[in-house]
């Protein structure tokens, strides 16, 4: 038997989580909503630049102000920040508070932010507000560096992007930083916000659902009648550290980030490959990295966004990677409830895996009335399934053919 990479390294664990999403803020609220099958998709104000008269998405309705001692901002100062910054700062500060990590004790804490379109969003929101940043010559430092300063983090800080897998790659890199001894702990995650141009661009790409008559039923992963995904916004962040460090300071260990697998299709800038080999390689690598066999995976949180091509490709990849074990492993996509948070999706879905581990139940795929014959899996339609979950895998796939799988293991 070969020894996996992770068996040779000290486990890296999650000691803090923070999230602000269409399904609420804070772990317990999100867990309750996920397991109750509640949808965050709704009609939204169409605005001047709406693509259709009826516009729908999964918005964040409230962004909690972090405690002033966590980021040095009072309520007014926080409210004055841009929406993208607030949607990063609030959950990141919550994750640090959840971890109880001291920032004044000389710990070197890094920050890896998964965010694929910071400048596009910044230029657009400025433009819609009457500005001309997109047309000018300014080069401001990026959000991740402002966040690091506000949160009092003294380690390396970088932004990474792999389209819809961005925040998952942030988690992967953060784990490597801890493995390498570059940081003592690392804040990792990602976020995204809704904007008119993004909605229009995805709509014009024919990637979005057009079920404006029934928004809450529009996001239909794996369903035979799916017609595209539903845009969402939100952010989720984690604190990672070595298990021994967490144990030494008596921190609550939520789970181990046990496996990471990465690959690229290398086929198309938009359309996922119909050949499942590379996506399956990411899944297999993550499972191997975690040192478990496919039959030991208790739950798969699928990327499945509800696109006709993508869901079929992923089902094939799961089956190829898990082999004979596939039919005994429950698979669900939480995007039926949350919509697709783009850069924030992978981190949010890691939260969903934590929910499955902590609550011992698999969140459902809502709106899965008639499973697509080409997506034969052990689906969990409509209603959460009580289930022993010790090992959960989460898939994320993005434009450009980015493939990522994370494996979380109960502490």
């Amino acid at each position: 038997m070969t020894i996996s990479r992770r068996e040779r390294a000290e486990p890296v664990v999650i000691t803090g989580v923070g999230a602000v999403t269409p399904l609420g803020s804070g772990f317990d609220e999100i867990a309750d909503n996920l397991l109750a099958g509640r949808s965050g998709v709704r009609s939204i104000e169409p605005g001047r630049y709406a693509r259709e008269a009826v516009q729908f998405a999964a918005p964040v309705t409230a962004i909690p102000t972090p405690p002033a001692d966590s980021c040095g901002l009072d309520v007014d100062a926080f409210a004055a920040l841009g929406r993208l910054e607030r949607l990063c700062l609030s959950p990141a500060a919550s994750a640090l508070a959840d971890a109880g990590l001291p920032r004044a004790g000389g710990l070197r804490i890094g920050l890896v932010l998964g965010l694929g379109a910071e400048h596009l969003k910044t230029w657009e929101l400025d433009f819609l507000d009457g500005g001309d940043l997109a047309f000018g010559t300014r080069r401001d430092r990026t959000l991740v560096h402002r966040l690091a300063v506000r949160l009092g983090l003294g380690g390396p800080a970088i932004t990474v992007a792999a389209a819809c897998a961005s925040s998952g790659y942030a988690m992967a890199l953060g784990r490597s930083w801890i493995d390498s001894g570059w940081v003592d702990a690392c804040v990792v995650g990602g976020c995204d916000i809704l904007s008119p141009t993004a909605i229009a661009a995805f709509y014009n790409l024919r990637a979005l659902s057009r079920r404006g008559d029934d928004p809450a039923r529009a996001s239909r992963p794996f369903d035979a009648d799916r017609d595209g995904f539903v845009m969402a916004e939100g952010g989720a962040f984690f604190v990672l550290e070595k298990r021994s460090d967490a144990a030494r300071r008596g921190a609550r260990i939520r789970a181990e980030l046990a496996g990471v697998g990465m690959s690229s299709d290398g086929v198309h800038m938009v359309i996922p490959s119909t050949d499942p080999v590379q996506a399956a390689r990411a899944i297999s690598t993550a499972i191997d990295d975690a040192g478990v066999a496919p039959c030991e995976v208790d739950y798969v949180n699928a990327h499945a966004a509800g696109t006709p091509v993508g869901d079929v490709a992923e089902a094939g990849a799961i089956r190829l990677a898990l082999g004979d074990a596939t039919d005994g492993i429950p698979v669900s996509s939480t995007k039926g409830m949350s919509g697709h948070m783009i850069s924030g999706a992978a981190a949010f879905e890691a939260v969903a895996c934590l929910v499955a581990i902590e609550r011992q139940a698999v969140p459902p795929t809502v709106n899965l009335d008639r499973p697509d014959e080409q997506c034969r899996l052990d689906h969990v339609p409509h209603v959460a399934r009580p289930h022993r979950v010790r090992v959960a895998a989460s898939n994320s796939f993005g434009f450009g053919g980015s493939n990522l799988c994370l494996v979380l293991r109960a502490a």
Binding site: R5, E118, S176
Partner: protein, 274 residues
């Protein structure tokens, strides 16, 4: 900064430079490059592959192709990572889309905006163009992109990340151009790209090395690492046998040292990625 070559800390990582290319292209000549990006001796790309690509992607692609044509010794396999670190890429396409949005509404927004003008787009295009299956990442996005790209590439080369090699591709406009009301660049700005093929130092022979020490003490005012300056330093070491190391500070306080091949063998380090 004064560059003193000393034994790096245990957490430092060294990567050997297996090839590189630096490209500067004026906006007025980008159309030609877009249509015919491959130099002699480089692989041909699929026809019209770059027709919707951002300027940064066009120049990045050329730099990778030139490095390959010059013999960058990195085999293309499933364990080669691509890290692209553009500074404010996608701005021309974004500005054009916003200008069109204001006049024609959402129906005019290009479907190519997200796939071609996002932070991942340069790396994604390189991955697709060559059919490479290792992980690809966009990194940075702002004036610190090169430093962020270096640490990301080093991360992927570190033991346990599953990568044998990495391409680091940094791009920017030499001077950020102002754009006209339709989103077109004014004047004739120069777009630049530096492509570097890297492998863990422990598996390479005598090559110039990049040593990244992410845990070096923080400094108050690290300046941005200029990619033309780094390109000159690498070229100098690779072609003229330049003997002096070159150093820069990273924005979070880490240090980057470029070590000549002649001295690389004497550094008692470092991490091996097996």
């Amino acid at each position: 900064m004064t560059c003193i070559l000393e034994s790096p800390r245990p957490a430092a990582i060294a990567a050997a430079i297996m090839g590189h290319a630096y490209v500067e292209t004026a906006a007025s000549t980008l159309a030609t490059l877009r249509d015919a990006p491959s130099p002699s001796g480089a692989p041909a790309l699929p026809a019209r592959f770059l027709r919707h690509a951002d300027e940064h992607t066009v120049v990045a692609m050329r730099s990778v192709l030139e490095a390959i044509a010059a013999g960058a010794a990195v085999s293309a396999n499933d364990r080669v990572a691509i890290v692209a670190a553009p500074c404010q890429s996608g701005r021309v396409l974004a500005a054009r889309s916003l200008a069109q949005l204001a006049v024609g509404g959402a129906v005019t927004v290009s479907p190519h905006l997200v796939p071609q003008a996002s932070l991942h787009s340069v790396a994604g295009a390189v991955s697709v163009a060559f059919g490479w299956h290792g992980p690809h990442l966009g990194v940075g996005g702002g004036p610190d992109a090169l430093a962020e790209g270096l640490i990301a590439a080093a991360t992927l080369l570190a033991a346990g990340s599953g990568c044998d090699a990495a391409w680091l591709i940094a791009t920017d406009w030499q001077t950020e151009p102002s754009l006209d009301a339709d989103g077109g660049p004014t004047g004739d700005p120069v777009c630049r790209s530096l492509a570097i093929a890297l492998v863990p130092a422990a598996v390479a022979g005598a090559r110039p090395m990049l040593v990244l020490d992410p845990a070096a003490p923080a400094v108050d005012h690290a300046s941005t690492i200029d990619l033309a300056t780094l390109a000159r330093a690498i070229t100098s070491m690779a072609s003229a046998g330049e003997a002096e190391p070159w150093c820069a500070e990273c924005p979070w306080g880490g240090t980057l040292t470029l070590v000549p091949a002649a001295r690389a063998a004497n550094i008692p380090f470092l991490r091996a990625s097996a």
